[in-house]
């Protein structure tokens, strides 16, 4: 009989906490449902999880705002408590753990050493490489070095949030810290991106749960995101979609169209190009999501979302200039310069044409038979 908590299987851990088998199956069914898996996956997942040792999870935070962790702590299915107490062994997270300083660093080293090749590495935040990695240091080590050390023994890496997955806001132009996503630093490990700024909490816990219960990387899209959560655009599942098809668009955030729930496309909604589960899983336990609250999607789960023009300019609108959209003044300036160029070229070509015409006429006159 094992004695240490980390040596217990999930089933043993649950028994110790007085959670019945039936209760655990209900929990897994809820989680499977959140992941849009078939209903039979719940009991299967429960059975699988009961017999596995709680996997060690090392959670590293780099250049980030802690919004992703704030989101994770608001997960409803599974809750963060049930996840970290029953399903995984969260061995290092510098925000949630009680230890600090050298004790915290020692816990990370110990977890990596004891579970080498088996632990799940969760990364939150982009990795700055500028100034020799000096923009993000912990315990005297740069984020690049910490990531390199932790990635070596990881079974898989889960990048939580758009910063870890795609660089996010630190990566945005002009990228002063030379920040990179994890995929640019680590190349030889299975990497799962759970993007979003922040990601939906159930998408984070669901992805972890799916990996832990199956031991396999789920089906991923071309950006390495689990297809089960990122397979559809928000627009595809949006309750305002019928208004898009009807051509009913809100023109401002307080007009009658907006009050009637019309499509926010013309107000800059990025739902048609954003792959995420906001419209189905929603937020705060399925209460609502940004579009339901009256604001367009800002496309935060997509690579480079910060550099794709204004959040308030329609997807089909021109996107250049400092504000991320073309202003009439800029267009006028462009047209003015282009027109001046056109006048110059046109005048030059007309002059060439006239000279040629003149020469031809003279030649014709010279060739005419002289009278007399």
């Amino acid at each position: 009989m094992p004695h240490r908590d980390e040596d217990l299987t999930v089933g043993e851990m649950l028994r110790r906490h007085g959670i019945s088998r039936r209760g655990f199956i209900k929990f897994c069914t809820a989680a499977a449902s959140a992941m849009a898996l078939p209903p039979l996956m719940g009991p299967a997942m429960a059975e699988q999880l009961r017999n596995v040792r709680r996997p060690s999870v090392v959670y590293l935070s780099f250049q980030e705002c802690t919004g992703c962790l704030e989101s994770l702590t608001r997960s409803f299915a599974p809750t963060i408590e049930s996840l970290i107490f029953n399903v995984i062994s969260l061995d290092y997270n510098d925000t949630l753990m009680a230890a600090a300083g050298e004790a915290a660093e020692a816990a990370r080293t110990q977890a990596i050493h004891d579970n080498f090749g088996k632990y799940v590495l969760v990364v939150d935040g982009s990795v700055p490489t500028g100034a020799g990695g000096g923009y993000c240091m912990a315990g005297g080590k740069s984020a690049v070095d910490i990531l390199g050390e932790a990635a070596k023994g990881a079974a898989a890496i889960v990048c939580v949030g758009t910063c870890a997955a795609f660089g996010g806001i630190p990566f945005a132009d002009p990228n002063p810290t030379q920040a990179w996503p994890v995929t640019a630093i680590v190349g030889d490990k299975p990497i799962i991106n759970v993007s979003g700024c922040p990601p939906i909490p159930e998408v984070i816990t669901g992805t972890l749960l799916q990996f832990v219960s199956t031991g396999k990387v789920p089906d991923l899209d071309e950006h390495r995101r689990p297809k089960v959560f990122f397979g559809n655009t928000i627009h595809d599942r949006c309750y305002r979609r019928p208004f898009f098809d009807e051509g009913k668009f809100a023109k401002s955030f307080d007009d009658e169209g907006a009050r009637n729930g019309w499509c926010l496309y013309e107000l800059g909604c990025k739902g048609p190009t954003t792959y995420n589960a906001c419209a189905t899983l929603k937020w705060n336990g399925g209460t609502s999501f940004p579009i339901e609250s009256g604001h367009g999607c800002i496309g935060c789960a997509e690579p480079g979302f910060w550099d794709k023009g204004s959040f308030y300019s329609a997807l089909s609108n021109p996107a250049w200039g400092k504000s991320g959209e073309a202003s009439p003044t800029e267009v006028l300036r462009l047209a003015g310069v282009a027109a001046a160029t056109g006048v110059a070229i046109g005048a030059a070509s007309a002059a060439v044409s006239r000279i040629r015409q003149h020469r031809q006429e003279q030649q014709a006159a010279d060739n005419e038979p002289k009278g007399g």
Binding site: G247, E266, G309, A326, S327, G342, G346
Partner: protein, 219 residues
């Protein structure tokens, strides 16, 4: 940079610049061409010549009664798809938003369902126009690469636009990117191909009509 960002960003900016340069270049070059002096005695006053020019713009835009049996169908086809294009380009909500962000002016839109019907009709008319061009013996002889390419590039904008609106054939961002990119291509081609008739058609009719009126003929 993804396709959509390029198409509505750098690609569109470049296309607009080429369009402006090209259109102004061709108009200025045309306007500054030397017109051979007509040494004949004018048979109409200057006012009548100008009036004759304006009259020609109207009369040449309508089938001649004598030839209506032969040319009426072709002209009806031409008018129909031009009107369809105008409606789709100028009265579709997202297009108006597009023009609004460029020029700062917007106007009321037609419902999307109406635009979709017009688009499908325009698409069909475009196919009919091509069919007529390749089957009509005279038109076929008169046609060159410019005609077919101008048809193709305009058709490409219609097809990608329909696909983007209906979300058919790929992810929306790709379809929208292709639609805007095809529009960029059309802008680049516009001044250098027969699409330039949009600027030349009425001035050239007016000039011809005016010259004829000067000689005493009425268009």
């Amino acid at each position: 940079m993804d396709l959509l960002s390029f198409a509505r960003g750098a690609g569109l900016k470049f296309a607009l610049a080429v369009f402006c340069v090209g259109v102004v270049w061709r108009i200025v070059a045309f306007a500054l061409l030397r017109i051979r002096r007509d040494l004949n005695e004018p048979r109409a006053s200057m006012l009548k010549s100008v009036g004759g020019g304006l009259l020609a713009v109207g009369s040449r835009s309508w089938p001649h009664p004598e030839f209506i049996g032969r040319t009426g169908a072709g002209e009806a086809l031409g008018y129909s798809y031009h009107l369809g294009l105008f409606a789709v380009v100028l009265l579709f909500g997202p297009h108006i938003t597009f023009f609004g962000s460029l020029f700062g002016v917007t106007w009321p839109a037609l419902p999307s369902s109406v635009i979709t019907v017009i688009s499908v009709l325009t698409f069909t008319l475009f196919l009919a126009v091509l069919f007529r061009r390749v089957t009509h013996p005279v038109l076929r002889m008169l046609s060159n690469f410019d005609d077919y390419f101008s048809w193709f590039i305009t058709m490409l904008v219609i097809v990608t636009g329909l696909a983007a609106t209906a979300h058919v054939g790929g992810p929306y961002e790709t379809l929208l990117g292709l639609h805007i990119l095809s529009f960029d291509a059309l802008l680049v081609w516009f001044p250098f191909g027969k699409l330039m008739h949009a600027f030349y058609i009425f001035p050239s009719r007016a000039i011809n009509g005016s010259l004829l009126a000067r000689k005493g003929a009425i268009s």
